[in-house]
């Protein structure tokens, strides 16, 4: 069995294992962690197949998306519903360590594979990233611009549909707050001092209260 075949089967096994654990573990944090591992392993398989740009894009986009997923889990799932763990160490640290070690092992194998196993790193001009960029910004530049307008239109549409101005909303206008002067709020009135004769009684009443 060649090294690349070994890598493929190892990564596939990890991928299948982590994918199963995404849907089978009880704890949402564990599933999210497994998902990270699954994406990372997929990326690793792609890199061994020579699609390094796709692999990196997967890591950047999907693993980033999983971070958002984490936030959702923390915010939306009522974690107290789960059984109180005996120790945080076993629930959080061991899975984290496991995922971390596996990822590190995959990375190490990839490095060995790309430097030792396969020989020299390909020239920049023949790499996927270079070719993809050349195709996108040269041949498909019009399509790329259309995609840009498409995304813009999606944004405008989302804002146009969800932005409602209600008359009952209270809000601050900082510029007006800053521009305010004392004279707008406080009016000083000159008055003569008036002394009622029963003033001391009033004072007494207030003191009683």
């Amino acid at each position: 069995m060649t090294f690349s075949a070994f890598l493929f089967y190892t990564f596939s096994a990890i991928l299948i294992g982590s994918a199963i654990s995404v849907v089978s573990t009880r704890h949402p944090i564990h599933s999210a962690l497994s998902l990270v591992l699954a994406f990372f392993t997929t990326a690793a398989i792609w890199v061994t197949l020579g699609a390094e740009f796709l692999g990196l894009a997967l890591v950047v986009i999907y693993v980033g998306a999983v971070m958002v997923f984490f936030l959702f889990v923390i915010m939306m799932v009522n974690v107290r519903d789960f059984k109180k763990p005996k120790s945080n160490w076993r629930v959080y640290f061991v899975p984290l360590l496991l995922v971390g070690v596996l990822m590190f092992a995959e990375l190490a194998m990839l490095i060995i594979y790309s430097t030792g196993g396969r020989g020299a790193v390909p020239e920049p001009e023949t790499r996927n990233t270079f070719l993809l960029g050349k195709a996108m910004f040269d041949h498909y530049i019009y399509a790329l611009e259309i995609v840009a307008v498409l995304l813009l239109s999606a944004m405008v549409a989302a804002i146009a549909l969800t932005h409602r101005k209600t008359s009952s909303t209270k809000r601050q206008v900082p510029s007006e707050q800053i521009a305010i002067k004392r004279d707008d709020r406080v009016r000083l009135v000159k008055m003569d001092v008036v002394r009622d004769e029963d003033e001391p009684e009033d004072n007494k009443k207030q003191a009683d209260k």
Binding site: Y142, I146, V147, V149, S153, A158, A160
Partner: protein
């Protein structure tokens, strides 16, 4: 690589207009105290910018040299006399519809910057679809055309019917897009190319089964966009729920773009599957014509009725397309031009019927229209006669051209069905004429209508073109035949 600045000038003009519109809200506040919300000068400035950039883009399009067919942007786009004509018609129709819609937009509180930004995005998509010769820009163009339309349908946020229509349109549209994309990917699998020119060369040697399945998916996707039976379910609800201006846009400009795409696919890359195409299109055309003619009779809302009328007209349009020769394609394109011009008049009248915050789009609102507003009644009558296909009007020649072509190419029974359904359809068009001229009005005559500067005179001119072109149909038809005959790829 030098950037083909001049050949892209129309698109760039639209894009510049779009970016200018995006800047408006920064400089002009959305609402000023005491002024009705969203009725500020921002919307009016956006309207003016929109019209100016539309006409600038038309000017640049007309200045282009189209004597010879060229490929632009690394063969992704096509520039020919035909694409130029279609793009000019699409932009001009949008501009004219905007003139009609000015009063309507104010009344419905749609004279906002967003409306025009979304409109520009859609138009860029339309321009792309009309010119594209590669599946990637085709798909992106269709998406760019549809996505803002979904939002524009729902722009009247307080209307529940609008929201419902938009949601239906969005889900079914997403399904249609996925069909289209799946079809493209199968064709790519069979031929190994995404460029239409290349596919045409590879299609003969490619895997025929894959190609046929791909073709089926592509037809389904495009038929959805054209609202052809059995992919028409969305049309009545969307036509009814959308603001009338958006309905007018969907039923004219977006149809124009999809029709040319359909013809280009049929005549270029997939021409080797012609017999297969024909058998699908015959069935679709017959179903559309029959359903469009019969179900429309039951409608009490004129926008729903026009939706079924569109379904029927798309059926007639397929009659010309399915013959598979250049004369048939030019008849189809002529038909879609005729349909667009006529529908613009109908929707123009409908847009000007807006009274007291009410749309007045029920058939009963047309009772005795002649005694309240003779001009509107006359124009609507002309539009209805033209849609029904009655001789002095242009609609007759559109129908005549496609049915003649289909008949000459041996589609005997399909032509018979077309003639019968057009007789049935004449009933509901003429019913509106009857209502307008020969019944008493429930409304008092003193009600005034929405007025917009120039809109009525422009509408009158547009109505008169129905007669003028009806008397001299060769004005368009000969140009179309000439343009089609000159191009290698439609």
């Amino acid at each position: 690589m030098s950037f083909p600045f001049f050949s892209l000038l129309p698109e760039l003009t639209l894009l510049t207009g779009l970016l200018l519109l995006l800047l408006i809200p920064f400089f002009i506040p959305r609402s000023i105290e005491g002024v009705q919300e969203d009725q500020t000068c921002g919307g009016k400035i956006a309207y003016i910018i929109t019209q100016v950039s539309l006409w600038l883009a038309i000017l640049f399009l007309c200045l282009q040299d189209v004597e010879s067919t060229r490929l632009a942007m690394q063969t992704l786009l096509l520039r020919s006399m035909l694409t130029q004509m279609l793009q000019v018609v699409a932009l001009a129709a949008t501009s004219v519809a905007l003139f009609y819609a000015y009063g309507y937009l104010i009344h419905e509180r749609l004279l906002k910057t967003e409306t025009f930004i979304l409109l520009f995005c859609t138009l860029l998509g339309v321009m792309t679809v009309i010119g594209a010769t590669h599946f990637i820009p085709v798909y992106l163009g269709i998406e760019l055309m549809s996505l803002p339309l979904y939002a524009m349908v729902a722009l009247r946020k307080e209307h529940l019917t609008s929201a419902e229509a938009s949601l239906k349109y969005f889900f079914l549209g997403a399904l249609a897009s996925s069909f289209l994309l799946y079809g493209f990917s199968l064709i790519y699998g069979a031929t190994g190319s995404l460029s239409m020119l290349e596919i045409g060369r590879q299609a003969i040697s490619g895997n025929a089964t894959l190609l046929k399945i791909g073709l089926l998916f592509v037809v389904a996707g495009l038929a959805f966009k054209l609202s052809i039976v059995p992919f028409h379910m969305w049309a009545p609800d969307v036509y009814r729920g959308a603001p009338t201006f958006v309905t007018a846009f969907i039923s004219t400009v977006s149809k124009l773009a999809i029709v040319i795409l359909l013809l280009r696919l049929m005549s270029g890359p997939l021409v080797s599957l012609m017999t297969y195409w024909q058998s699908i299109l015959v069935v679709l055309a017959c179903l559309s014509m029959i359903l469009g003619a019969t179900v429309a009779i039951l409608q009490t809302n004129i926008k729903r009725m026009l939706a079924y009328s569109t379904i029927g007209h798309m059926g007639y349009l397929l009659l010309g397309a399915m013959t598979g020769d250049l004369a048939g394609y030019s008849a189809s394109l002529f038909y879609v031009f005729v349909y667009a011009i006529t529908n613009l008049v109908a929707f123009g009248v409908l847009l000007s019927m807006h009274v007291d915050e009410k749309e007045n789009d029920n058939l009963d609102d047309f009772r005795g229209l002649y005694y309240r507003s003779p001009l509107r009644a006359l124009l609507m009558g002309m539009a209805m006669f033209s849609l029904a296909g009655i001789p002095p009007f242009i609609g007759f020649f559109g129908k005549f051209a496609v049915i003649e072509i289909a008949f000459n190419n041996g589609f005997f029974w399909t032509s018979i069905i077309a003639i019968l359904t057009s007789v049935i359809a004449a009933f509901y068009y003429l019913r509106i004429v009857l209502l307008m001229f020969f019944t008493e009005s429930a409304m008092s005559a003193t009600r005034y209508f929405t007025r917009a500067p120039w809109s009525m005179s422009l509408l009158t001119i547009n109505g008169l073109t129905l007669i003028v072109l009806g008397l001299f149909p060769s004005l368009i038809l000969s140009r179309l035949v000439y343009a089609i005959a000159r191009v290698i790829v439609i």
